[in-house]
């Protein structure tokens, strides 16, 4: 997303700065704050969903085959999922 999309000019704002779209923050990319990314080794995963419930961003979702994956558009790389995973599926790897 370019800087222009994030910061509309005053002419783009509604009168009274009314915000018309619920949950519009979801177009904002927080993924570029990340210095480490979660990497999964799904062989050990028991699909319990602990990572899903403990994600502060709410960016982890169930995939079609029942495993879980983080949306890197939002993931800030805090590492809570890796720390809490009871099976040690997730490791944090440095972003290059």
């Amino acid at each position: 997303m370019s800087e222009d999309d994030m910061m509309p000019g005053w002419k783009d704002l509604k009168p009274g700065f009314v915000v018309t779209e619920p949950g519009s923050a979801s177009s904002y990319k927080t993924g570029d704050w990340r210095s480490e990314r979660p990497v999964r080794d799904n062989v050990r995963c028991i699909k319990c969903g602990i990572c899903y419930i403990y994600c502060p961003e709410g960016c982890i979702s169930e995939t079609e085959d029942g495993y879980f994956d983080a949306d890197l558009y939002y993931c800030k790389g805090c590492g809570i999922c890796a720390h809490e995973c009871p099976r040690g599926v997730i490791t944090m790897e440095e972003e290059k």
């Binding site: 923050a25 927080t30 704050w33 319990c48 899903y52 502060p56 939002y74």
Partner: protein
């Protein structure tokens, strides 16, 4: 039971608190807000005081809220939420809108609850409005840069309770017991909750919401930025706070105390404190002092509780 738990089957996948919010990396409060919003559902009006939750979720021109939400200044969440509730009831009484079972919820941080917003909250609870109040307690004014509040625990470093020669312990006063102040209003439901126990937290939110009259929930919200700990520690610290007895989980239903988790043996408080930079200056004597106080408080709570 614990082994067979499959979380996605237990909770809704709806996210009423949208991602893309600007909370710090590893924020325990953002996690708590997300879980509370999952439990609240769509049919609510949320009133939020100034504080971390407001600034991370509502940076103009975007919003993280997918439910009706209003921001109010620090001191009057209680007043605004009771005003909205009264107006809603009045309009139903006059036949202007059909009753839709809308619920009213106030969110505030520990500063907005135990310091600045206490009188408005006390008034709203005393008048008996039908609302749920959730306090997200990160134990200082984190949004403005880690200033002490009355919810800051003894011995913590903050920028306005610095550690020095005359005050080697940092914060010199003990944490204000906000849940007990709520209990003193004789409201039907008071609870403490922690994001480390998400299903318990969501149960309590639903209970508080369904209760007729005021309900108060105090949610422990670890803050890696202000507590000077690693970003992956928020959930671990929330769990340790419960296991050491620093933040016991209980409910008070119509004045009756029930422990959500009864711990026959508490872990030493050092286990919880050692991960946090804000406590790193504490001497053994101070640790002992904290340990004694925590055990005393826990014993007192256990004596009050109805053990089932």
């Amino acid at each position: 039971m614990e082994e067979s738990l499959f979380i996605p089957r237990e909770v809704t996948t709806d996210e009423n608190f949208a991602p893309g919010h600007r909370a710090c990396i590893g924020c325990g409060e953002a996690l708590a807000v997300r879980l509370v919003c999952k439990a609240l559902g769509k049919n609510v009006i949320i009133v939020t005081a100034t504080g971390c939750i407001e600034i991370i979720s509502s940076l103009l021109p975007k919003t993280s809220w997918r439910v009706p939400w209003i921001h109010t200044i620090f001191e009057n969440v209680g007043a605004v939420v009771s005003g909205i509730e009264s107006a809603y009831k009045a309009r139903i009484r006059k036949g202007k809108i059909p009753p839709k079972g809308v619920k009213f919820v106030g969110f505030a941080g520990d500063g907005g609850t135990s310091d600045i917003g206490l009188q408005a909250l006390s008034g709203a609870m005393e008048r008996g409005h039908d609302f749920l109040y959730v306090c997200f307690d990160n134990e200082a004014y984190m949004n403005t840069g880690i200033q002490r509040s009355s919810a800051t625990p003894y011995g913590a470093w903050t920028t306005t309770a610095p550690v020095g020669k005359k005050r080697p312990q940092g914060q010199m006063t003990w944490k204000k017991n906000m849940p007990d102040i709520a209990v003193a209003h004789r409201i039907p439901y008071v609870a403490t909750a922690s994001p480390a126990y998400p299903l318990d937290l969501m149960d309590k939110v639903r209970k508080g919401l369904d209760m007729e009259g005021p309900a108060y929930i105090h949610v422990f919200s670890p803050c890696p930025t202000g507590w000077r700990c690693r970003t992956d520690m928020a959930v671990e610290l929330a769990r340790l706070a419960v296991e050491t007895g620093i933040f016991p989980l209980y409910e008070v239903i119509n004045g009756e105390y029930h422990l959500s988790i009864d711990l026959p043996e508490l872990k030493p408080v050092r286990e919880y404190l050692k991960h946090q930079g804000r406590f790193k200056h504490l001497s053994d004597d101070m640790l002992e002092e904290i340990q004694t106080r925590v055990e005393e408080d826990y014993k007192r709570l256990r004596a009050k509780a109805v053990l089932d």
